[in-house]
């Protein structure tokens, strides 16, 4: 088992730079997730680790071995594709044992490994079927089984759950998590779904425009984002952002005016100048109705989920503000109220999107 280390990886298609100087490391046995909006380069990065794309610069190491110029089959990686990439003319067993049959492994060895993988993935009853006779979730498991049979040092997943329906996705997510604990191999997973990233990852790498915007443990990214992009990308519903002007500063932080109201933010480092433009971010669960201060809003819709509800309100400037309510059964639609947050829960960003701490 080995970790994966990328150093100064670059990739260009013609004049178009897709990956711009990415360096990162996933320790062995960890579950790393590349997450980001479409076009951020996350799949390209994964395909470069697999060897399906050349690098335009930089170095890829797997288990301490430089594999930048090594062909895909010899990197010790197995990949699960979004489309599953199952061979329609082969049975489930033959699909899973494909790599071994290419290598002309003895039949009994092949069968034993396929049976073991099928047992782990509960596919034993389906080994003789063709992929076309399986459901989406089962096909996905066959694709994972094909990877397991190869006993790779590193598993690569390219948006493996995006073709499944919502319920199955949640179920497969859990199974993947369980599988990772069971096998203990290094896994790298690409997704555009931040919920998948949060729930599966040991380490998340948030990508945008070919850059790693921030890397870290899921809760670290959630609690302490480096920039507005990560703050907005991680968390559902997304963080609320409010454009504000600094009105006062003190040793603990600053107060800013926005949308006809005021918010106070805690800030340990250098304070912004009075009158400076600033962007404030508050997560929905940290916004609560307040008597005085805060932002005046009018409630438009409340999404009742039973245990909690997400209230969509409009500020006097017309901005959409979402806040969470727990355990309340009051109807809020149409009401005007003020909402605020504790200073330590108000994040401050420069207008360029950099976090102020």
């Amino acid at each position: 088992m080995s970790g994966v280390k990328l150093s100064n990886i670059k990739k260009s298609f013609g004049a178009h730079d897709v990956i711009k100087d990415v360096s990162l490391e996933i320790p062995k046995g960890e579950f790393g997730v590349f997450v980001g909006p479409s076009g951020c380069g996350k799949s390209t990065l994964l395909r470069m680790i697999a060897g399906l794309e050349d690098t335009s610069g930089g170095r890829i190491e797997i288990g301490g071995r430089d594999v930048t110029a090594v062909e895909p089959a010899k990197r010790g990686v197995a990949m699960v594709f979004q489309s599953y990439a199952l061979y329609p003319h082969l049975s489930v067993a033959d699909n899973m044992g494909f790599s071994l049959s290419l290598a002309r492994a003895p039949r009994h060895e092949r069968e034993a490994k396929v049976r073991e993988a099928a047992r782990i993935l509960q596919l034993t009853d389906h080994l003789d079927k063709k992929p076309s006779a399986l459901s989406g979730g089962q096909r996905q498991r066959v694709a994972i089984g094909r990877a397991i049979v190869r006993e790779p040092e590193v598993f690569l997943f390219d948006e493996p759950l995006s073709n499944l329906d919502a319920e199955l996705r949640v179920q497969m997510r859990l199974e993947l998590s369980r599988l990772h604990k069971q096998i203990g191999a290094t896994m790298i997973y690409v997704t555009h779904d931040q919920v998948e990233a949060m729930t599966l990852a040991d380490d998340i790498f948030v990508l945008k425009g070919g850059h790693v915007m921030q890397a870290g443990r899921p809760l670290q990214l959630y609690d302490d984002p480096d920039n507005r992009f990560v703050a907005g990308f991680i968390g559902s519903p997304a963080m609320n952002f409010v454009e504000a002007v600094v009105t006062a500063t003190d040793p603990q932080g600053f107060t800013a005016e926005a949308m006809g109201g005021v918010l106070t933010a805690r800030l340990d480092g250098p304070k912004p100048a009075q009158g400076a433009d600033i962007v404030l971010g508050v997560r929905p669960e940290h916004l609560v109705p307040v008597e005085t201060g805060g932002l005046p809003v009018t409630v438009e819709v409340a999404e009742e989920l039973g245990g909690n509800s997400y209230v969509h309100a409009r500020s006097i400037t017309g901005a959409d503000i979402v806040f969470e309510r727990r355990g309340s059964r009051d109807r809020l639609e149409g009401q005007s109220l003020r909402i605020g947050a504790a200073p330590e829960h108000v994040f401050a960003f420069t207008p360029q999107g950099e976090r102020l701490r």
């Binding site: 895909p72 089959a73 290419l102």
Partner: protein, 295 residues
């Protein structure tokens, strides 16, 4: 009540829509076919009616040596064309598929152009290229055989030469079918196989070939039907000669009907050819399908 009326109207509309096709089909296909069958049991000339002779035409056919010669030549021609043209088309398609963008389009146009030409132009081109005295391909033949060969007047060379002309003429269409089939194979299957350590040989035999099999079966069957119907090229290049060594069944039909005025006998031959084509092609397609299922 209105439901039933609606339903009836629905059917009327449907029938009125298919009627023109059924009428034309009956007029230009069903009626002639029935006429040919009827004709084959008479001694009718090409134009006008004849007397009922029962199975006489078929009996005559069974003792006609030219029939056996033609049948054998038809079979020989199928051997010379069907599998070779399929293999060549597959190889060309694999090569063209590696090109991209404009180069691929250009290559496709090049291979498809002969298919657009009328048969008379095709045969004229090849008659010139293989001309005994000034054909530009004669030096090539001379290189291998040591002397110029009058290909269309030589019993050994005539059928292979007609086969080459036919393959050159019709190959573009098969290339097109294979290209379409190749494009239908998702790129990820190749990537997955590469990750699994497949060599390029294994990529072809383990991925491309089995997934292309339905197209291959289609091409083989279409070719079989087409090549059993060989007529124009032989008629234009060798007229069945020399010494009937390129005589084929349709040429025989043509001779009996239009040169010897034996409408009934010609009808019997064409009916036999029709049955051969139906039986052989259905049989072949079934065998290929079963073969495909095992893959």
């Amino acid at each position: 009540m209105s439901m039933i009326r609606n339903n009836r109207r629905h059917k009327l509309v449907a029938y009125s829509l298919i009627l023109p096709f059924v009428a034309i089909f009956a007029l230009v296909f069903a009626y002639p076919v029935i006429e040919v069958i009827r004709l084959s049991f008479t001694d009718a000339p090409l134009i006008g009616s004849g007397d009922w002779v029962g199975l006489d035409n078929y009996k005559r056919l069974l003792s006609d040596r030219l029939f056996y010669t033609s049948l054998k030549n038809n079979g020989y021609f199928v051997l010379l064309t069907v599998v070779p043209t399929t293999v060549i088309a597959l190889l060309i398609a694999l090569a063209v598929n590696r090109l991209s963008g404009r180069m691929q389009a250009l290559a496709l146009v090049l291979f498809f152009t002969p298919y657009v030409l009328p048969v008379s132009v095709v045969t004229q081109i090849w008659a010139w290229m293989l001309d005994f005295q000034f054909g530009i391909l004669q030096p090539v033949l001379e290189f291998f055989t040591g002397k110029p060969v009058p290909v269309f007047k030589n019993p050994f060379w005539v059928m292979p030469a007609v086969a080459v002309v036919t393959i050159w003429w019709t190959n573009g269409f098969n290339v097109l079918l294979f290209i379409a089939g190749l494009r239908n194979i998702p790129e990820e299957l190749y990537e997955a196989a590469k990750l699994d350590g497949a060599t390029s040989r294994q990529l072809f035999f383990r991925v491309t070939w089995p997934l292309l099999w339905p197209v291959t079966a289609l091409v083989l069957t279409l070719q079989l039907i087409l090549q059993l119907k060989i007529f124009d090229q032989v008629y234009l290049l060798s007229e069945g000669g020399p010494f009937n060594s390129s005589y084929v069944l349709l040429l025989m039909v043509y001779r009996e009907a239009f040169q010897l005025n034996n409408g009934g006998y010609a009808a019997a031959i064409s009916l036999v050819l029709f049955l051969i084509i139906v039986v052989v092609s259905v049989l072949q397609f079934q065998i290929l399908r079963i073969g495909g299922r095992d893959k």
